[in-house]
Amino acid sequence: MPVVLFILLLAAAWEAGARMFEIPHYIIPKLSDVLVSMGDNWRLLSKHFAITLGEAVLGLGISAVFGVLAAVWIESSGLAKKTIYPLIVTSQTIPIIALSPIMVMWFGYEIWSKVAVVILFTFFPIAVNTADGFRSADPDIGELLRTMGAGRFDRFRKWKIPSALPGFFTGLKMAAAISVGGATLGEWLGGENGLGMYTKRASNMLRGEAVFSGVLLLSAMGVLLFLVVLAVERAALAHRRNKNE
């Protein structure tokens, strides 16, 4: 409830601010105009919404799988830790847009170039947080498992994985929030569809209302994905003592 109230408050502040300060509508439109524009273009927007959501979810899913695999690899091999980890870090430091021709060359203008950008955005937080989760595992439990004859695989399954779960979810939550930004950027690198494209074109047309309906929907999508992950986390960690209150 307080969240809803808070959102309403923000909305009111926006509307009032836009009216009071007379900001050009193509920079910050009035919220009411945005909502009207959203209503007018409802069908188009929902089509683009679905496309961007698809890119984000696909990229997020792939990142989750490979992020965890990378974390596992880092955790289990000293060499991987010394090679993969720096590589992952470096991948984050590269300005993607500078390499857009390469992205397009490799992944084309279809959905895969967008998914690739989403992966580049979301892989990192998942891998790093999961790897740190593995490291935070209680060594005493690991020792106990060794005395019971548990091999590497069993120790991973029964000790490292449950221990890394909270870290994994922290990473996945962050990834969910930024995945939409990745998809948007991917669409900007080239494409015909999606809310990112919609906002880009609207922005080139100085249609502030259209830009902001796109931005609002993108934002809502990010929050939505975040909440989905949050719900899964709640369920998965329901019985952890200091997670979820």
């Binding site: 193509y26 857009s100 397009v104 060359m105 203008y109 080239g190 074109r201």
Partner: protein, 310 residues
């Protein structure tokens, strides 16, 4: 790869991927007209239009054969060739500068030399600086006293929020129209009137290899495009409607703006007695010389090799 023939049901059709310079707008009407009127099909072509992130990407993709044709700029083609990117212009689409210096009417700026001491916004393209420098110098001002601000992507907000006094990099058929629609009065100063050679704003490019392999198809493409342009010139409203209809499925264009835009563009695209798209060596030589003069070319470029009239 997209060149080569389509092995599908209609094996006679040659598939061509064309990268636009920007998202579809009035300047592309001739392409949509050619498509919708069936000119491409009649020429045995299957044309796929794509919007890339920017034209630099487009040039590189054409050069590597990832696409067959790209709409680009004459100056960009010259620079590409200097950088060893094997790109050839196969047609001049817009034959005169659209990129003009835009000034708010309220600023009391009437000619380029009035810009001394003012802030000029430009979109991270050093060429734009060279254009304004030449204009000011020709007008009798000292270019070293100009104050440039790189405004990245956002030309219009930069000016409307008074961060800069003038912008270069905006088009008279787009940025100017949009700003005027917002109620601003604008003056546009044409570079070709102030010492910059009159150049082709938009050209269609192919790669050297592509031209060798696919020359025939590209020639057919240009012919179909010329028919599209002819149709557009004679039926501007109908032709524009074809574009709008196509685009409204993806993104609603502003019909008003595009209509005005097309009205501005049509005379600038008109090759007169020459066939649509034809280019002169003179134009290429003068722009290359100017670029060299401005230090924008790292290597010499042979004007004759930069273009091909098919």
């Amino acid at each position: 790869g997209s060149n080569g023939s389509n092995k599908g049901a209609d094996s006679a059709e040659t598939e061509l991927t064309v990268l636009l310079d920007w998202y579809p707008n009035a300047v592309h009407t001739f392409l949509y007209a050619a498509e919708e009127q069936g000119y491409f099909k009649e020429a045995g072509l299957k044309v796929k239009l794509q919007t890339p992130a920017d034209t630099n990407d487009a040039l590189k993709l054409v050069a590597t054969g990832k696409a067959d044709l790209a709409l680009s700029y004459q100056m960009q083609v010259a620079i590409s060739r200097a950088e060893g990117i094997p790109i050839v212009s196969v047609g001049a689409i817009v034959r005169h500068p659209l990129n003009q210096l835009l000034v708010l009417d309220s600023q009391a700026i009437h000619s380029p030399k009035d810009l001394i001491g003012k802030k000029i916004g430009y979109p991270s393209i050093p060429l734009d600086e060279a254009i304004v420098n030449t204009m000011v110098k020709t007008d009798g001002g000292d270019p070293s006293k100009l104050d440039y601000v790189d405004v990245g992507w956002d030309l219009i907000p930069a000016m409307s929020t008074k961060k800069v006094d003038a912008i270069i990099g905006g088009y008279v058929n787009h940025e100017k129209l949009l700003l005027e629609k917002e109620g601003e009065k604008l003056i546009a100063l044409d570079p070709s009137k102030y010492g910059v050679p009159d150049y082709y704003e938009l050209v269609l490019t192919a790669s050297e290899d592509g031209l060798k392999k696919n020359g025939a198809a590209i020639k057919k493409f240009m012919e179909a495009a010329a028919r599209g342009q002819a149709y557009t010139a004679s039926h501007p409203d109908e032709a524009l409607q074809l574009l709008l209809d196509q685009q409204n499925k993806e993104f609603p264009l502003d019909a008003d703006i595009e209509k005005q835009s097309l009205a501005i563009l049509l005379p600038l695209m008109d090759a007169g007695t020459e066939p649509f798209g034809s280019q002169s060596e003179q134009s290429w030589r003068s722009i290359i010389d100017w670029l060299k003069e401005q230090g924008q070319l790292t290597k010499d470029v042979d004007p004759a090799e930069a273009f091909r009239n098919l």
